[in-house]
Point group: C2
Chain length 347, copies 2
């Protein structure tokens, strides 16, 4: 063993140990990730760490003893990258939980070029583009209707033409909470944790991204938001990518303190069959938002060869629809829908 | 009474009786519908009749005694029309069944103008357009996994500018079957009934619209069709609108003979919890298709003030998602997915 150690350089040893730190070995060769100041490498290491920490903190709350299953996959063209999809289904606390990372580089389809141009990126029409994307995304659907559903996503994009010119790079992300019953304590705690991460990077961040979140997670046809919001940002492309990265990292590190205390506090609360039914109807609305409006899901459906099973771990295990199910004014269910129609300031 | 009759013209009396023939009074004033050769009136009378006949034939199969609830509604701006939404939820045979008619005229939103231009309609950019739409649409989700889900839709559109110029009118429609288990007898019967309606209007119709159906009801991201097809057509705008109308009428009249015998034959078949689970997972795919791909649902989400509850009666009562649930090769579930990936000719 000593002989091996002495004949092997320290970086190579560290690289060999790297897979053990995460849910599965990185998508990119470990040797390329370590001590690499390139943003692509930094982002991959961040999302690997966030995935590991979040999965472990959730497993600690799951009373059935079930663990996340770990599915490391490559795109059909293996050079285009792949991902690690961690799923826990049918638990006692976690009805369906997905924590997904993706690291991919692929040609940018004409449809996606168009949607990026529509959002203000200058991509000359006569070039072929390729993109790099690295992101972590997660949706947690607990079984108990008193525990809210939570989503977060942090991603880094690079786009450049085939000559390495016309380069753009940006960050996006956010986190939002979807309760079935309104517990102000939970909502305030969630927002406060995200706000304190934002505030480290300036007082303008939280108010701006809180408002973006209320605007983005809107089911326009229903005139209601998906939940009680959180933060949302996209196309973050400041002159200093490292400061953007630090912002993203701080937000990602705020997820566990924003959400896990709520799970812990509510997971043993008793609930009725009617409350469960209400939760499933609201999950129908979650499905509507994700399939009709969500940019990430649309990106998945529009990317040739996308791994649709990984995209759709965001959907609940079960959802229901009933014609014109409107809660009684004055009921707790009505209180929730009122907040979804009229977003509030929480902190 | 005699005095009333003799002082009242026959058309007015007939018009007064018209509401009794349908699930609810027509959307347009009954006096305007009778003996009116205008296609808008003919189409409204057709869809009112189809709705009534189909609801009654389904109620005859429902063993719980539950009947369709009838919801007649107007758009917020009442001059824009409205609809009649008939829903039966939570029956023994019919888990969720919706039969909807809509008759509306409204300004054509820029987004919808764009999508019509993309499909080849010449709509000059400097004009305001309004559209008229009359259609019947229905999705039946039975409780028993051995009874397929069935959808049909027949619609008539007119578009014209504010001066009544640049007018287009066309029909669209179709019917498709979504079984959970493949029973060749059912599929052949369904297709044969539609084929014989098509064949009255020329031997080219069924093969063409059968192929269109397989192309249209494709969940591209999954590489599988929604079901075993049927017929689908759109933008039918021949020089003779009456012959188009007759084609649509004959197809609509083929729905009951194409589907009801299957319901009758299968509704008492025993099924296991595993078969029910499989049905709910397939219903998840139905939700995916409707919310991501379906033109009618997109039209609903894109129409300002659309009645989203009526659009979404197409969704099942319950749907499920599980990560990478792939049926075992050789199982009946696998046999179904194989047909969804590789459409067949049935008649």
């Amino acid at each position: 063993w000593r002989a091996v150690v002495s004949s092997t350089s320290l970086p190579v040893l560290l690289a060999a140990a790297l897979p053990l730190k995460f849910m599965a070995p990185p998508i990119t060769d470990a040797e390329q990730l370590l001590d690499n100041p390139d943003m692509k490498a930094k982002m991959e290491l961040l999302i690997l760490r966030i995935q590991k920490e979040f999965c472990e903190s959730l497993e600690a709350e799951e009373t059935s003893g079930k663990k996340f299953s770990i599915d490391r996959w490559r795109r059909q063209n293996e050079e285009e990258g792949g991902g690690i999809t961690c799923v826990l289904e049918g638990g006692e606390v976690l009805e369906r939980a997905g924590v997904n990372i993706t690291v991919m580089r692929a040609p940018l389809s004409p449809k996606l070029q168009e949607s990026m141009r529509a959002r203000g990126k200058t991509l000359p029409a006569d070039k072929n583009f390729e993109f790099f994307a690295a992101g972590v995304s997660s949706v947690i659907h607990p079984r108990n209707p008193h525990v809210p559903t939570m989503h977060f996503n942090f991603r880094y994009f690079e786009v450049q033409d085939q000559h390495g010119q016309n380069k753009h790079s940006w960050f996006g992300g956010g986190a939002d909470l979807t309760p079935y019953y309104l517990n102000t304590q939970d909502v305030v705690q969630f927002h406060a944790a995200l706000k304190s991460a934002c505030d480290k990077h300036g007082p303008d961040k939280y108010p701006l991204f809180k408002r973006s979140c209320d605007e983005y997670f809107l089911n326009a046809a229903r005139g209601e938001r998906r939940g009680v919001g959180g933060i949302f940002f996209d196309d973050m492309e400041s002159p200093n990518p490292d400061s953007d990265f630090n912002f993203v990292r701080d937000c990602a590190d705020a997820i566990i303190p924003s959400y896990l205390p709520i799970v812990r506090r509510r997971k043993h609360e008793a609930f009725t069959a009617e409350q469960r039914e209400w939760q499933l109807l609201r999950r129908g609305r979650y499905v509507e938002f994700n399939l009709v409006y969500d940019r990430g899901t649309k990106f998945g459906f529009a990317t040739p060869g996308a791994r649709i099973e990984s995209v759709l771990v965001s959907l609940p295990l079960t959802a229901k629809w009933l014609y014109k199910h409107d809660p009684q004014p004055g009921s707790p269910e009505y209180t929730l829908t009122d907040v979804l129609k009229n977003p509030r300031d929480w902190v």
